[in-house]
């Protein structure tokens, strides 16, 4: 049996339903008209009557056929949902349940990130070699322009290691944010086809950047060894520092991902923000040495000292670079400025990682239902 809304007949009667086959009218009306009256009182009776069941009656008016289900008519949608403990489709779970879903999706996140990372260079002839070449070339450019031409290497112990660490660590944050801002808009197909916690995407993108950073770190260690730095236990501290930075970067990626989902222009604007941030983070010079010649108001200096990317960079530089002993107080002061760490630097790293990580997570989670709609 079929239930049908024959608008050509239904419209003149406005609130009246009838089926196309005359013999079915009685059963249908008795079953559904109650629900119709209750739920669709706004039906307009003023529309023009279609001539018949032909093509021109394509618009069925404002009436949809009510559910053909006795139980539904009795209990209603929410009543049935309660009786059979059905869940609201696509409803946003609470932050803890959301984290649990992310944990379930962890294999997908990592596999997707790895696959993406490998597919990234599959179009180029040198392929995966670019994973190594890109950071090396980056460092080369900065070394030439800042270190040599602008002379920022002066007064810095082991400038090459100093520069390489700065470039790689900042680049980790920079790329996580740049690609993070496009996490939603670049993957709309995926979002519109499969249900998974959307935070998987910015997290996966940060994992891609982490994988690239790990390759870069091998280069960094090679550079440090070639510059005569000795392997010490301090090198092990790089691991927790990078873990904290990963949490911090994930938080940032989650924030910009939601920004980017709301306003697609974010990814155009972000490079300028990031460049400014890079200059403020002493990637290829020492902020302290640069500022040494000028008077800087205290609060601004405090902010510059506690700027998270600079903290991450300085902490890692301090693990790698051994400052040579010197009797010249001027050089010693210069070295101290170059390697400066504010008090409780590690606590600050933990603080930034937690605040940005959790804050970014909650901020992104709030928009969970909106991604992929626009």
């Amino acid at each position: 049996m079929a239930y049908c809304l024959a608008n050509d007949q239904a419209r003149p009667a406005a609130h009246h339903l009838t089926a196309r086959g005359g013999n079915r009218v009685a059963g249908l009306v008795s079953q559904t008209s109650k629900a119709m009256r209750a739920r669709r009182v706004e039906v307009s009776g003023t529309q023009t009557v279609a001539a018949g069941p032909q093509r021109e009656s394509a618009d069925p008016g404002d009436v949809s056929l009510p559910a053909v289900d006795p139980e539904f008519n009795e209990l209603g949608g929410s009543g049935m949902a309660a009786k059979y403990s059905l869940a609201v489709a696509g409803a946003r779970p609470n932050p803890i349940a959301y984290a649990r879903r992310l944990w379930v999706a962890r294999h997908f996140i990592v596999t997707w990130a790895t696959a993406r990372n490998q597919a990234l260079y599959s179009g180029s002839r040198l392929g995966q070699l670019w994973q190594v070449l890109t950071p090396i070339l980056n460092v080369g450019v900065y070394y030439l322009i800042f270190g040599v031409l602008l002379g920022t290497r002066q007064g810095i112990p082991d400038f090459i290691v100093y520069l390489v660490a700065g470039v790689f660590i900042f680049n980790f944050m920079q790329t996580a944010m740049l690609y993070g801002s496009r996490a939603i808009s670049d993957n709309l197909n995926l979002i519109r086809a499969l249900y998974f916690p959307r935070a998987s995407l910015p997290i996966a993108i940060t994992i891609i950047q982490l994988q690239q950073l790990l390759i870069a770190m091998v280069i960094l260690f090679a550079v440090a060894l070639s510059q005569g730095e000795a392997i010490t236990w301090h090198w092990l501290l790089i691991v927790p520092a990078l873990c904290l930075q990963f949490v911090f970067n994930t938080g940032l990626a989650l924030v910009v991902a939601r920004f980017g989902a709301i306003l697609t222009d974010t990814s155009q604007l972000l490079p300028f923000v990031l460049r400014t941030w890079m200059y403020a983070s002493g990637v290829f010079y020492s902020i302290k040495i640069m500022l040494g010649k000028h008077h800087v108001p205290g609060p601004l200096l405090w902010i510059l000292d506690h700027n998270p990317p600079l903290l991450f960079i300085q902490v890692i530089r301090n693990q790698l670079i051994t400052v040579p002993a010197t009797k010249d107080p001027k050089i010693a002061a210069g070295n101290a400025s170059a390697m400066f760490l504010p008090p409780h630097a590690w606590l600050w790293l933990v603080f930034w990682a937690l605040v940005v990580g959790i804050g970014g997570y909650l901020y992104f989670w709030q928009g969970e239902e909106t991604y992929g709609r626009g």
Binding site: C4, A89, F108, L194, Y195, E369
Partner: protein, 294 residues
């Protein structure tokens, strides 16, 4: 019933279903039994007065994206004038129960795919009404997770993970997925080649095999059946029947009325975001065909 009388005229043709030869009457008989049974089962999807709005950029042409247009909007503090609201689903209700296979038909833009997405939870409903589901319905849209640069083999793993399978499950099922897709039958090691080297048919077969691996409670299929050769189509239809027998609910969106007739017991006809007809597959598809030819 009306369709029985009509059916007897074509009863001499034998129809093959799951390897059995059945007369038209038997097919109809089984279908009405299935529908009667399904009506007693517990519901898997309850759609209650669902509305879905899309916000769409673009459409109103010339000033979209142009610098002067954008500047103009900012100066005059107007909203994006190309931002339009599309009311794709305009208040529909129905109940789907275990063991049902429901076809969604209707002309282009009638809201079929939007409805599937709303059921899958990809487009949450507006404040009034809603969609209630048992478990997480799965849209057969695994192709979105696959990457053309990767081998078929790795795409199987990736696609299965995207559908929420556990790695150990994937290891167990890997071979059966490749076997079902049949891509290694003609030329071995096809599964090791990047997916971009596959023919359209091979890619479609692999996608369907991955998607049909998991026995979903609710499976949503959007135009996926028109791919692959005849043999593979039959296999995928059988797979859908198997799913239905396992007390799941299957939704199929298709413009091919024939494949809807083959797979579905019940059909919902959508037009302009509203349900126009809901019922037995033969009656609804006939009315739809009469309407669209008329």
């Amino acid at each position: 019933m009306a369709d029985k009388k009509k059916a007897s005229s074509t009863a001499t043709d034998l129809i093959v279903v799951d390897g059995e030869e059945l007369t038209r009457d038997e097919v109809l008989d089984r279908r009405s039994k299935r529908r009667a049974e399904a009506a007693k089962n517990s519901p898997t999807v309850v759609v209650d007065n669902l509305h879905v709005h899309y916000k769409v950029y673009g459409g109103s042409g010339a000033t979209r994206g142009s610098a002067t247009g954008a500047l103009n909007r900012i100066i005059h503090r107007r909203k994006h004038d190309a931002l339009r609201d599309v009311h794709a689903i305009r208040g529909i209700s129905f109940v789907a129960r275990r063991g049902e296979s429901i076809g969604l038909i209707g002309s282009n833009g009638s809201g079929k795919s939007t409805l599937l997405r709303a059921i899958a939870g990809l487009l949450p409903a507006e404040k009034v009404g809603g969609v209630y589901t048992d478990g997480q319905p799965s849209l057969l849209g695994v192709n979105a997770a696959l990457m053309n640069d990767l081998s078929g083999e790795r795409n199987v793993v990736l696609g299965c993970l995207a559908m929420g399978l556990h790695p150990t499950e994937i290891k167990e099922k890997y071979q059966s997925i490749i076997d079902f897709s049949g891509i290694d039958e003609k030329s071995p090691n096809t599964s090791l080649r990047p997916m971009k080297t596959y023919s359209a048919g091979q890619a479609a077969r692999l996608r369907f095999s991955i998607a049909a691996t998991k026995l979903h409670d609710v499976l949503l299929i959007d135009e996926a059946l028109a791919t692959g050769d005849a043999g593979f189509q039959r296999r995928s239809e059988n797979r859908i029947r198997e799913l239905r027998r396992n007390a799941g609910t299957v939704f199929v969106v298709s413009h091919s009325i024939n494949s809807v007739r083959d797979i579905c017991d019940r059909v919902i006809w959508l037009e302009a975001g509203l349900i126009r007809m809901d019922g037995d597959v033969d009656e609804v598809t006939e009315a739809y065909e009469a309407w669209s030819n008329g």
